[in-house]
Every structure is written in C-alpha cells, then in structure tokens.
Symmetry: C2
Subunit: 331 residues, 2 copies
DNA sequence: CTGAAAGCGCTAACAG
DNA sequence: CTGTTAGCGCTTTCAG
C-alpha cells in the first residue's frame, strides 16, 4: 500500500498534449503562454492534483523559499512570541519556516547552521550564542538576521534596553529606592549584558546604587539562590535577568516570609505569560517579541533578494508594565 | 557581493581526486568505501565546508527527510511541549522539522497541508480541526500522525483521559465533594469532548453529580464568565477545560472574594508552565506532551519507511498533580 | 508562442 | 573498491 504517487509536470504535459516546458511556463510566467493553452494546462493540472515539487525548483534555482529560525529553547515562553511573529512573517511572504532548538548550546547551534544551511535561503538566529566571527562566516553563505544580539555587519533586531532600563530605574527611584540589585543570568547572554549595562548607567545617572549578583540559572529553579543573596545584601529592590528568575525569586521570598513589595520590590524582563497571574503579579519590561520575529524574517527575506554589505539594525521600543510586585521603599 | 558559492559534491570530488560517486558513497554508505579514501574524502569535504544539498537528495530519492508539525497556536504553552518533543524526535532521527501555525482555523490548516505536502515526507497534526474525511484524503498522499485526536485508520497519540478523569473524580470524591462542574472549552475540541465524557462517566460511577457549563474561551479571559457561572450554581468543585481557563477562574474567584480551595476547589488540565506558580498553585492533570510529540514523529517516520493500512494508536498515561487549589468540601 | 535539450546536485545502477 | 552513466522534476536557454 504505497502512498499515491504525485503527478509531475510531465504527467500534466502528457495529459494536456503539450511540452513540459509549456506547463512550467504556465505556472511561472503566465504572460508568456497563450491564454487558451494556459487555461487548458491549469485545468488539467488541477484535475491531476498537481503541485510543483519544491525540491526540484530549489535544485534549479538555488532558492528553497525556506527560512530557518533557531532558538535556544522552544519551551521558554519568551521565544514563543518570536516564533509566532517569524511564522506569521514567513507565511505572509510565502516562505516556509523551519524551526530548530539549540538547547542553549553553541556547538549545537553551529551544527544546525551547517546542516540546515544548504536547505534554507537564510537564518533568523534568536539570542545566538555563537561568537561574532562564526556568525560572520555563516553569513557569508546564508543571509542572517539576529534577534536580541548585535553583531556589526549583520542585520539585527534588538529591544531598546537603554530606554527600558531607564524606565525601570526611574520607576524604582520614584518609589524612593536608593539602590537596586541585579540578579544576573548566563554570562554569555548578550541581552543580559545590555540589561546590566543599561541599569548601571541609568542608576548612576539617577544617583542610585547598583550591584550585580549571579550568574543564576534564568529559570524558576535559580530563584532560591538569587533571593537568598538579595536578602543577605539587604536589598530593597531587585531586578532579575528575566521573568522566570524573578518569579522564582518571589517564590523563595514568600517561603522566607519576606513580603513583596512590602519588604522588597521585584522587577523582571520579558512580560511572559504568567507574569500577569503570578503572586503578586510581576512588574516587568515588555518587549515586542512578535514584531521582532516578523522584522527579522523581513530582514532576511530582503537580504535574499539583494545582498547589502551594511544591513540595518532595528531597535524596537520596550515598555514597563507596572504590576503589584514593585512598591515604595520600606521604612 | 553575492553569497559565497557552496561547495558541491563535484568540487569535493575534484579536490580529492576521486569520482563524485565516491564522495557520495563516503557519506551515505561509509562501509562501501576504502577506509583510507573515505577519510581523505571526508577531510577534503570538511576543508571545503561541504554539506550535502538536501534538495538534490530529495529530488533523487523522493524523500525530503523533513516533517511538518502543525499546531493551532504556537504561543499556547500547552503546545510548547509537543513542539519540543517533536523537535527532539526529529533531530534524533536526522529529520528536519517544519512548523506551521494554523491559527485554530481549519481552512488554514488544510491550505498548509496542501502547500507543504510536496515539501515534506509526512505530517504531525496536533489537535487537528480537520474533518476525518479530509484527514484520510491527506493521509493518502502523505503519512500523518495525530496528537490528541483519534481518527480511524490514522496513527494517533492520545492522552489517557479515561484514567486521568477518573483520578480527578477520585481526588475530589476523597475530599468529600458530592458534585463537580465542568467548565467547557471549544465545542470542536476532541480533547474537550474526551475530558467531559471521562469526567461524567467517572462521576456517575462514583455517585457524584456532574454538570457541564460553557463553552468558554479556553484562556485567562474566559475565566470571568466561567467563574461567575460556577458561583451562581453553588459549585464546590470546578474542573476547567484547561489550565489557562482554570487560572482565569481563580483570578475571578479571588476578585469576588471566593476562597480557593476553602470555598471552591479548582482543577485544570495540562500542567502548563505557570500552573506551579499561580496563586494558589493549581491541581491539574499532567499529560506527557513532549513524549506525545516525539512518539508522533516516530509514528510518521515509521509510516514513511513502510506504509501500513492499520497504524497504531498510542495512549500515553496522564497523572494528577495535586497542588493547593483543591481541598476538602466546605461546611 | 511553443518544443527540444541541457543541466541544477545527488544517488543508484552497472561496469570494470 | 571505484569510475561512468543515467536520471529524479523542474526551469531555462535556444531554436523553430
């Protein structure tokens, strides 16, 4: 019981009594075929359930009309938005999206880039862990757009962390806090570095103290160690690398009888699903992740059409979502 | 500034001083090549950065070594596990996974199946909204595996809702509840139907009353209407279509001053990220979503190798995760 | 406007 | 064990 064989261009040609090249033209250059023959060909094709074979097209043209999106962890809710946006952008452009999970592992990322390379027209790399040098080498073979990572010479879509971190610091300052503690994530994280740099600069500007602790695992499980460190340091305001860590911190604080926001204010990054229903609901910096995914796809698609040596960097606005986890400084 | 041209098998052959077919064999049938020449070929290939062109392979073999996974909504945390599992399963089998979002829309799903059909070896359809008839027609052209949907003649991976719902009912019964209210989701949902059928049967068996309300939007936003209906009915235990709805219900109950689990016990389905840190943490039926994704990929892959007219249905165990949202009947 | 023929990169016969 | 040859399905010259 073999799968029914698909009709090929030759089958259609035979059934329509024309040459294969005419069938091909009827589909790809409708203008260059007699209206009458074209309609006949299309009718026969429809009847045979003919659909062009993308592999054959790709072989000839070198274009697969496919893009790959690589993310460090598919289950991380932060990337869900990027994936959705990329999916939407690809669909809008008639492109197919291939999804890869790099397991936060640079080697795996490199391998995927290599393996998928010949099968796709370009890559969207979200939160890439690859060194700049390697990214540029890969970009030499395939157009690449980066999400939340900036590498000179490559197309990038990044969140406006400068503005975002300033919003956070202003918010805490207006609540009377005199200092903040940043609970850091993975040291290789480009976003993490930008977040800390922004916080520190904005804090200095505002006359607030800023200290970095960590690195911590950017997940619920990392919260206990991070919270304990913050308590020991007598922090009144903590800003966590991301929402999962922030929520983990709040869980631990509750366990240790520390009130949020009464004793300590907690702020996160990402505004993931759940930041709205954790307890208390989390104040966090929202990024436009869907837009980032869509823009990155656009950028790659543009590069596929015409290579430029200086592709654009796009900065997307961020906004602080104030919820109940942040409040006035105690005392 | 055109992209650097990729090395082909011919380039490698020339550089290594062998025939193209030898290079091909060195990769695909390592045993049929002299160890010495093979190592030389592989070294040259490595140096040239050669990677086989999947399109060319596909053209020749008719196999694309690619599977498509279609889900109703990529951002729904429930599907994150399925996606991850499918990704992992595909990677383990050396297959590439294409991801499609059907936007909960049968027409869009059908279109994706048609467009992607010639480009992939098979489909994993998660929570498909397509009618049985159309699924069977599609399965005629491409192997298909279904996740949480059963259609005779197709490979299926489903959660054991019979056992799961019995666990829920037993749990509530042991807490002294005499009846439960089911807050239903979309009427077309196969899982939803199975969940209600299971609850009702188990409740009857146990001598509990069971009523269904709804349908509600299976999201946080659906919670208000669902909660209000449950309160009006004087329910002591509610079981929601999924965790998002359950959490939405708890949010609304808190707003109305109804204590969970003091006044009402709440149970969900899915055990999504967030069920552990909402307030109170949610009692819910966990499915093995990652395993489901991986198994479905396996099933498709098996069908690609050898078609059978009666593919297997796999039932995966479910387990009740008891947290603090469920408690003794009041009074 | 249409047909014939060449080849995209690769693999599977078939010789040697 | 390895080279030669013939396509896979499609697009694209190039003639007609």
């Amino acid at each position: 019981m073999p799968p029914r064989k698909r009709a090929t261009i030759t089958d259609v040609a035979a059934a329509a009594g024309v040459a294969a090249s005419t069938v091909s033209r009827a589909f790809t250059h409708p203008g260059r075929v007699n209206v009458h023959t074209r309609e006949h060909v299309l009718a026969v094709a429809e009847e045979l359930g003919y659909a062009p074979n993308p592999a054959a097209r790709a072989l000839e043209s070198g274009r697969t009309r496919t893009l790959a999106l690589l993310v460090p962890d598919i289950t991380n809710p932060y990337f869900a938005g990027v994936i959705k946006g990329a999916e939407r952008g690809a669909a809008a452009a008639g492109l197919t999206l291939v999804l890869g999970d790099t397991a936060e592992n640079p080697a795996q990322e490199a391998q995927l880039v290599r393996r998928l390379g010949p099968a796709v027209d370009g890559f969207v790399l979200s939160a890439s862990r690859l060194p700049d040098e390697e990214l540029r080498r890969a970009a030499d073979l395939n157009p690449i757009a980066l999400v939340n990572r900036a590498t000179p010479g490559l197309a990038c879509v990044v969140a406006d962390f400068d503005s975002g971190t300033r919003q956070i610091v202003d918010h805490l300052a207006s609540l009377g806090h005199h200092s903040l503690v940043f609970l850091g994530g993975p040291p290789e994280s480009w976003s993490g570095a930008r977040r800390w740099a922004g916080l520190r600069a904005a804090a200095e500007e505002r006359g607030l103290g800023a200290t970095r602790f960590g690195p911590y695992v950017p997940a619920l499980a990392g919260g206990a160690a991070a919270a304990d460190a913050a308590i020991a340091a007598g922090a009144t305001a903590v800003v966590a690398h991301n929402d999962m860590l922030a929520i983990g911190v709040m869980l631990r604080l509750a366990e240790r009888g520390v009130d949020v926001p009464g004793d300590v204010s907690v702020v996160g990054f990402d505004n993931i699903v759940g930041a709205d229903f954790c307890n208390p609901p989390l104040t966090t910096l929202a990024e436009r992740t869907e837009e980032a995914g869509a823009r990155a796809v656009e950028a790659v698609a543009a590069q596929v059409l015409s290579r430029t040596d200086d592709p654009p960097t796009r900065v997307l606005p961020t906004q602080l979502v104030v919820r109940r986890s942040s409040g006035p400084v105690p005392g």
